[in-house]
């Protein structure tokens, strides 16, 4: 069986800085894979290249047998890859529900004609978009339900902003979900809750998840497999225990052990 996602020799440099240096890895369907690494290891760059925000300088990304190179970000979302951002990026002045409905954009198709004449097809679709958006918000239980849905996104608490961003990504009905430091800035209780959410996304929604995470409790709790990066290269891969005890990984995090 071929992998759902295959990253082959991916390179990206900014001037002299090699953010990605011939990075290769693969993700199978229904897997949860964590990417760890110190700051500046190129983790977010992988996501930005995969979602079409950056153009790679070399290598290829193959998703369900199709190359993602030279595709616009909006096309990549339609193929089934959704993401969240490291520093939460919502549409702050749209309501919570509208934010989630934007996620459904790529799964709907009505145009100017439908909007102006409010055709039955358009109304059905709008109803469906709304229901699915509510459904995506409902994934987080009561956190984003009820009166909150009509509030503008900017009044949400920090943790709820993160949840809304994930709900918006889920609303795009993704096959592969890229989460960029989903627990950053959350308190321990929220972090544990989110850890369960990530596992549930895979188990209940059947989404494959690639997650960048710093909090090792989360990494340990969710990962089927861990990929450790440094300087844009893969330095270790395997189960959490394997990677956590890898000499290169420890060096990357703590610095080289003084020898002699």
């Amino acid at each position: 069986m071929t992998a759902l996602l295959e990253v082959r020799d991916l390179s990206k440099h900014f001037g002299g800085l090699y953010a990605l240096n011939e990075l290769s890895f693969a993700v199978d369907e229904h897997e949860i894979v964590s990417i760890i690494g110190p700051n500046g290891a190129g983790k977010s760059t992988v996501f930005n290249v995969m979602t079409g925000l950056y153009r790679p300088d070399g290598g290829d990304i193959v998703f369900r047998g199709e190359s993602l190179l030279n595709r616009a970000p909006s096309q990549i979302v339609r193929l089934g890859i959704a993401r969240t951002f490291q520093n939460v990026k919502l549409f702050p002045n749209m309501t919570v529900l509208e934010n989630a409905m934007v996620g459904q954009h790529c799964r709907s198709r009505s145009g100017v004609f439908g909007a102006v004449f409010r055709t039955p097809a358009q109304r059905r679709e709008e109803q469906r978009v709304r229901e699915r958006a509510v459904g995506a918000l409902g994934f987080f239980g009561s956190r984003l339900a009820g009166y909150r849905q009509d509030q503008p996104a900017f009044v949400l608490s920090y943790a709820n902003r993160r949840r809304l961003e994930m709900a918006r990504a889920l609303a795009t009905e993704p096959t592969l979900l890229l989460l960029d430091e989903p627990t950053a800035g959350m308190n321990p209780r929220e972090t544990l809750e989110l850890r369960d959410h990530i596992v549930r996304m895979r188990d209940e929604l059947g989404v494959t998840i690639l997650v960048i995470e710093h909090d090792m409790r989360v990494v340990k709790g969710v990962s089927d497999r861990v990929i450790a990066c440094d300087y844009g290269q893969k330095i270790a891969e395997g189960t959490y225990e394997h990677v956590a005890n890898d000499q290169h990984v420890i060096e990357a995090y703590l610095g080289t052990k003084a020898t002699g």
Partner: protein, 611 residues
């Protein structure tokens, strides 16, 4: 401490008020409006300007402020004091200007500043000796300022009642050429309301107008109207309609809505015959600019693409309509047909014009897709100028008539109906009304749809919108195309209303006016665009005395709006949020941070790795 803070604000406000008064004198408004009677032959508009400025300066000065992190409203003594200080400053600046003028000599000043005349000086000194007159003027200004300051200490409701009552009196007084005509049409006696000798309101009339406006506000008419006219909110529509039919409130409210809209529709239909042909022509112009505003609102208000070259679509609409409906070039040998032309009916030509404008909109949009904000504005500015140059150029003379322009443009007849859109402005009004309603309907439907959401998301964050599956290229082009199409209808109607075109009508000023209309009204808000067009196009048209000050008023109104009410007169809810976002989100962040600190001591992340 609080008081000194409030007083400190009064000084600049008063000084600005004084400068504003000197400015009003220098541009000639004070002298010119000496003869514009508002109430009973005694209250003329120039005095309303003078005292109103002093009053407003103090009113602004006494606004609640944030001092030391707390919002402080002035108490009565503080309001009195800072009102007086503000008035004193206003009077001092005005008095100094009068003194300076007298010192240099009126004639000497007049050779540079044309408006400084003995008449003006006479007005300012109340036709008395210079010293006594200036002292009296100062006293009046200070009194007005104190009144403005005290106005702040009233509760919100009485304050609104007073202000709106006074504004209603002034507006009715200024409408002295229109309202009496309308009343005459209706055969309603009007001598109790408007004087025959002094054209303004009679004292009784002013009292009645004030009382009516005040009572309307007192009983919350504004709030009620807002509830009645508001379209049902999205959430109500989703589950309110079927889920709670037993609630009598919704049913009766819907009834009220229907009745209210019928009244509005009826008024719109009889309006031209009430106000007469002159005002109907002005309303027709309002309609043309309303179309421009609605179109530009789609581009700027919805999609967030600042377009300063919108006049391009106006001219495309006008010129294409001209050549498609048998317009003739004006040459020194008489009328000649254009190189490419057709003799179509208006109704056949219009769809072609609209399609062409949409196509041109997309073509203009294509090369600037990657530009944002300021850069986009500059490039579109260039497109606007290119359009003007092309339509007015000698080398395209055979097509568009060059500098002399086009004539004999269609009268847009409807077969079998004796409507004369060109000859009777009252008939043209209906044509404009039809298309304005259409454009409003389309705007409204688009805004509340998948497309509107995509535009919104794109305006808020283009990159994220793209990453969430919205093809920003597609939606930018769509905004340019639809906005251009709506604007071109405005141009086509403009051509029909005049029957002839010259390139002088297609200056960049059109773009600026359209932009001013939507900014004044509130970006992204359809009622806002209507109000903006009425205020910026309708009012100066109706008050023909103001015609020469039109641009001054635009400038002043825009500055005041941007400083005092940046969300516009009738703001779009979302825009209002955008402008307040910074304060609020900062608050929220601060609260969150404190809450989190209290809730848990920080734990180092990644602790297990080392272990």
């Amino acid at each position: 401490m609080n008081r000194s803070g409030l007083l400190a604000g009064a000084i600049p406000a008063g000084a600005i008020g004084g400068v504003a008064i000197v400015y009003l004198c220098l541009v000639g408004m004070v002298e010119k409006f000496e003869t514009l009677d508002v109430v009973g032959g005694s209250v003329t508009f120039n005095w309303i300007l003078l005292l109103g400025t002093a009053c407003m300066a103090a009113y602004v000065a006494v606004r609640p402020r944030v001092i030391g992190g707390r919002r402080v409203s002035a108490d009565r003594a503080a309001a009195l004091a800072s009102g007086a200080v503000s008035g004193l400053l206003t009077a001092a600046v005005t008095g100094a200007a009068i003194g300076l003028g007298n010192l240099i000599g009126i004639d000497a000043v007049r050779s540079v500043l044309r408006s400084v005349s003995p008449v003006l000086m006479g007005i300012l000194t109340l036709h008395m000796n210079a010293w006594v007159g200036t002292a009296l003027l100062s006293a009046l200004l200070i009194a007005a300022a104190v009144a403005g300051g005290l106005l702040r200490t009233l509760g919100s409701l009485p304050r609104r009642v007073l202000v709106i009552g006074a504004v209603a009196v002034v507006v009715m007084g200024l409408l002295q050429r229109i309202v009496p005509t309308a009343l005459d049409q209706l055969n309603v006696g009007r001598d109790w309301l408007y004087g025959r000798v002094n054209l303004g309101l009679t004292t009784l009339g002013a009292a009645v107008v004030f009382a009516v406006a005040a009572l309307a506000i007192w009983f919350g008419l504004g709030e009620r109207l807002r509830v009645v006219f508001r379209p049902p909110a999205a959430s109500e529509r989703a589950d309110g309609e079927e889920a709670h039919p037993q609630e009598a409130g919704i049913g009766s409210r819907r009834m009220g809505t229907v009745v209210a809209w019928l009244v509005v529709a009826g008024l719109l239909l009889v309006l031209p015959y009430l106000v007469g042909p002159v005002v109907s022509r002005i309303l027709g112009t309002v309609g043309i600019f309303l179309l421009l505003g609605l179109g530009l609102n789609i581009v700027v208000g919805y999609a967030g693409l600042l377009d300063l070259g919108y006049v391009a679509f106006f001219s495309v609409g006008a010129y294409f309509m001209a050549i498609l409906t048998g317009g003739q070039r004006v040459t020194f040998k008489g009328f000649q047909p254009p190189a490419f032309g057709a003799n179509l009916s208006f109704w056949v030509a219009l769809p072609i014009v609209v399609a062409a404008a949409a196509l041109i909109g997309a073509l203009i949009g294509a090369p600037v897709l990657r530009l944002r904000g300021d850069y986009l504005a500059i490039v579109t500015l260039g497109f606007g100028e290119i359009a003007r140059v092309v339509f007015g150029s000698t080398w395209a003379e055979g097509l568009f008539g060059g500098a002399p322009g086009m004539s004999a443009i269609t009268k847009a007849p409807i077969p079998g109906v004796g409507f004369q859109f060109q000859d009777d402005p009252r008939h043209f009004y209906y044509l404009a009304l039809l298309f304005c309603l259409l454009a409003m309907y389309v705007s409204w439907r688009l805004q509340d749809s998948r497309i509107g959401r995509a535009w919104n998301a794109m305006r808020e964050d283009e990159q994220v919108a793209d990453a969430m599956g919205i093809s920003t290229i597609r939606y930018k082009l769509l905004a340019f195309a639809i906005g251009g199409a709506v604007g071109s209808i405005g141009g086509a109607l403009f051509a029909v209303s005049l029957g002839s075109l010259t390139i002088k009508s297609f200056q960049i000023l059109v773009s600026i006016t359209a932009l001013a209309v939507i900014i004044l009204g509130g970006l992204g808000s359809i009622p806002g665009v209507v109000l903006g067009a009425l205020v910026l196009i309708g009012l100066p048209g109706v008050l023909s005395q103001f015609e020469e000050y039109r641009l001054l008023i635009y400038g002043g109104a825009l500055i005041a709006i941007m400083l005092l009410r940046p969300q516009g007169l009738v703001p779009n809810v979302r825009r209002m949020r955008e402008l307040r976002e910074d304060e609020r989100s900062q608050d929220q962040w601060a609260k969150d941070a404190v809450a989190e600190d209290l809730e848990n001591a920080p734990e180092p992340a990644g602790g297990e790795l080392e272990a």
